[in-house]
Amino acid sequence: MSARARAAIVGTGQTPFTRGTPHSTLELHLMAAVEALADAGLGPADVDGVMPNELAGTVAEDFILNLGIPELAFSSTIRTGGASFASAIQSAALAIEGGIARTVLLVAGRRGYSAQRVSRTSEGAIAPHPVMRHVDEFERPFGNTVAVQWFAHAARRHMHEFGTTSEDFGRIAVACRKHANRNPRALMFEKPMSLEQHQASPLIADPLRLLDCSLESDGATAIVMTSLERARDLRKTPITLLGYGEGHGRPPTSITHKRDMTRIEGLEIAARRAFDRADLRPDDIDCAQIYDGFTWVVLASLEAVGFCQHGEGGAFVRDGRIELGGALPINTSGGLLSEGHCSGANLFSEAVRQLRREVEPSRQVADCEKVLVTAEGDFHEGAAVILGAER
């Protein structure tokens, strides 16, 4: 137990992951929030902090209005794309540790299948954002229009420099799928997938194939945080924030302009800060929930965090090490690749359930005491959180 841990996760709630939903994004958020508060044994009147998620487009006022929150003291929205939720965990911890807020509600997810389908995105489908201004002016007009193409550049360069292969990416996809096959919540629960199927899946942006891409899905996840002191009086095992950090690469506005696009520099920085704060090392981690918008991001994240050296990610994933039963199981719910894409928030609910021993026995990591959650967002920005259980 780190002497620094002062904030804890006390509740998590999720809607089902679906492809098609009658609910609005806000309704999904509210349902997840109500479930998370019930899980914590708290109610809306206890909430005095809300962290809406950038990618969902909801605002604090939505939660005040619909949950009937009487006295909101703190609200903030982080804008680092897919890393927003993990960074929001850090900001919520700061608000709690600083005495600004007592109980903070964080919610993410969207109608990623029914409304905001990334694969159907063309101009205007995603609201313009200042961080995109360089890409909007100098890359999208040159056909480099969507994330899978930006990340494909990085994956290709990684293959060129280190001999990484499409099969290496495939082993990550297969590991996530195997885990999803043990998770009834997962969209891919009853859909096994082999490396051969991965290799036969169509190229989307070479070298990335369809099965290298995370799922377009509808759903929301909520997390409730409070002080560790108060968490000890609540119903579930307190999940402590042992360490957290965020990081920003340079330039933070384009992957193609990174001096070394094969590194997720923002996550290197974030993970170093999280481990320093927790006074832990990668060897201490029992399982990791790695943000997996694309398989290559997982491979590069394993390197960035320090589980292996830069360039060795391909070899690292080759022998089943990242699967349940291996030395470092990752994405034990199936992750964004095979459970559902909930803007990274579902990686936190899975970490919490692993630490509480609440998952199906077939995918419970034995003696799980320390879990790392990472995120990559926008253009290699990063965030990392290390969670533990106070038993």
Binding site: F138, P141, A152, R156, P202, I204, D206, P207
Partner: protein
């Protein structure tokens, strides 16, 4: 550098939205010249355009001509179009190009034979009028040049 030539394409491509920071770049393109934002205090070239020099914090800039020659740093081949303007062109390559001056630029290479799109391939700029966009810088595989790495 040569005068603009016309590429055939059916659907309008998204037009770049020029700003006061980048007007000089696009004015250069319309004149058939590739120019890059340069700090007038310390001479640092910077692309994409930005208001302040991150090396010396000066605000002043002008536009420096560059060679238009470079090599492919990385690339992808898009097998699926995510914008209607590229629907008729899949599969098409998109390259990240590193100019000899150390500046990176991105350009699609529709019609370029796939075996020529490799990391290290030498490329050179030209200019073309494109539907919906007007004059644009374009890159093509340099003739008679070998790979650099």
């Amino acid at each position: 550098m040569s005068a603009p030539t016309r590429e055939t394409a059916e659907v309008a491509r998204p037009a770049p939205q020029s700003t006061e920071l980048s007007d000089g770049f696009w004015e250069g393109v319309r004149a058939g010249r590739l120019v890059i934002q340069r700090c007038t205090a310390c001479g640092l070239l910077r692309h994409y355009p930005q208001p302040m020099c991150p090396a010396c914090r000066a605000l002043g800039f002008d536009w420096a001509p560059v060679s238009g020659r470079g090599s492919i740093y990385s690339y992808t081949v898009a097998h699926r179009a995510f914008h209607p303007a590229w629907q008729a062109h899949v599969p098409y390559a998109i390259a990240t190009i590193e100019l000899d001056e150390g500046i990176r630029m991105v350009c699609d290479l529709p019609g370029t034979p796939p075996e020529q799109v490799v990391i290290g391939a030498r490329v050179e700029v030209h200019f073309a009028e494109l539907p919906g966009q007007g004059a644009m810088p374009r890159f093509r595989i340099a003739t008679g040049a070998g790979e650099t790495r």
